[in-house]
Symmetry: C2
């Protein structure tokens, strides 16, 4: 599996993805799941992928080739005028890749499925995030649903639900994402370090700061062990339940 | 779905189950998923069920009928000499129920599937807990894996992993279960209050104390809101991550 979160704050967008891919416990590897495109001062686009690795790599390659090779440049995510149209293109491309794989005789579409988080901003529009399904359709982030998760989403959801605030600064948001990822890593072998992180500041129209967070990252270690201790302390303070 | 936990402590066993059954969001109801049998001073047995309601009700009815009706009294979970043999009987009965349903022409065994947590103690043996799969096979609890979850297990697992200690008293263990259930209820509509609770003290050979915890239970409310506040406070104390 995979774990990715795309989150919208008042200040901008934050993306985090893990890097573990596996086809069984004896066949796992590190693979990037976060991809960036930009036209400086005009647009910045981030895509995170979960699902069949052949599908997602093919999707990213198609999107990238269409943005660099001369003859096949349009339609391209570097030229479309809105994030909505980019989401439509990514959705259509994803559907195309899955349909192609399914033609070989395999019947289970699930096998080739993938989910996508697409975020960014194009001049003239607001920063936004979409979640794109294997069928190619998608939903857009709203104030009511200020973050999207794909992959192994359940372990890390409770802390997001409780601690998210749209006014958070980036440092607190990254802390929140790390706590959510840490809870997931501790409970599920298919999600693993290192984590890829990106922050996008509103109206910057550039990919902004990125970082790969490794297991030996000191702040991550402090958050991970501190969170365990803090949970136990918080737990002690709650009233006990006597029957 | 469902959420049930069976946990072993140094002092005894604790069981908690939710009560929501659903066949879609417009068809849900309250249904008990925790069942008790006892022979005072000789054995106490608890079963919790997750999965297809027709399957689990049929399983419980078969197990119960076989323990009361004269002609069909053996084999019975009230007579078998060890918890291991009880687990074998429950597993065989579960497999039988699923196989019967599948004969009608439906091919997906998943549709009729169910998982079971079986716990208790029979004189001459130790208190123990088994997790029984739809195929009828099962695993027993160990010191390394001191609790079993069935149903919607992911949301509530991180706090169990972090805060469980075998030396906990019952009051703290119930608090831990309530935090785990509360995290699940807050993230998943298919798990709902009230919760059924039972504690079994080692070598008591009686079903012990039970309680149905409703949404208006004051201690539960204090734990639920206190946990949200405590999480946010704990979160504030962690170091922020500056890029």
């Amino acid at each position: 599996m995979t774990y990715c979160i795309g989150m919208r704050l008042d200040h901008g967008l934050v993306f985090m993805s893990d890097t573990r891919t596996s086809a069984g416990v004896d066949n796992f590897a590190v693979s990037k799941k976060m991809f960036h495109w930009q036209v400086p001062d005009e647009r910045a686009i981030t895509i995170m992928t979960a699902g069949n690795l052949a599908t997602t790599q093919s999707l990213i390659s198609l999107l990238s080739e269409r943005s660099v090779s001369e003859g096949d440049r349009d339609p391209s995510i570097l030229h479309l005028p809105t994030m909505f149209q980019v989401a439509r293109l990514v959705g259509a491309t994803l559907r195309e890749v899955i349909a192609e794989s399914s033609l070989t005789g395999q019947t289970s579409e699930d096998q080739f499925g993938a989910s996508i988080i697409l975020g960014g901003q194009i001049k003239g529009g607001k920063p936004t995030i979409f979640m794109i399904y294997p069928e190619g359709n998608f939903i857009e982030i709203t104030d009511d649903t200020p973050f999207f998760q794909i992959g192994e989403t359940k372990y890390g959801k409770p802390i997001l639900v409780r601690a998210y605030e749209r006014k958070m600064d980036f440092a607190d948001a990254i802390k929140l994402l790390l706590v959510s990822f840490d809870s997931t890593v501790k409970s599920n072998l298919s999600v693993g370090l290192p984590f890829d992180l990106q922050i996008y500041e509103n109206d910057s129209f550039s990919n902004g700061r990125t970082k790969r967070i490794n297991a030996d990252d000191e702040v991550y270690q402090a958050i991970s062990s501190g969170w365990g201790d803090a949970l136990r302390d918080a737990f002690q303070l709650l009233p006990s339940y006597r029957l």
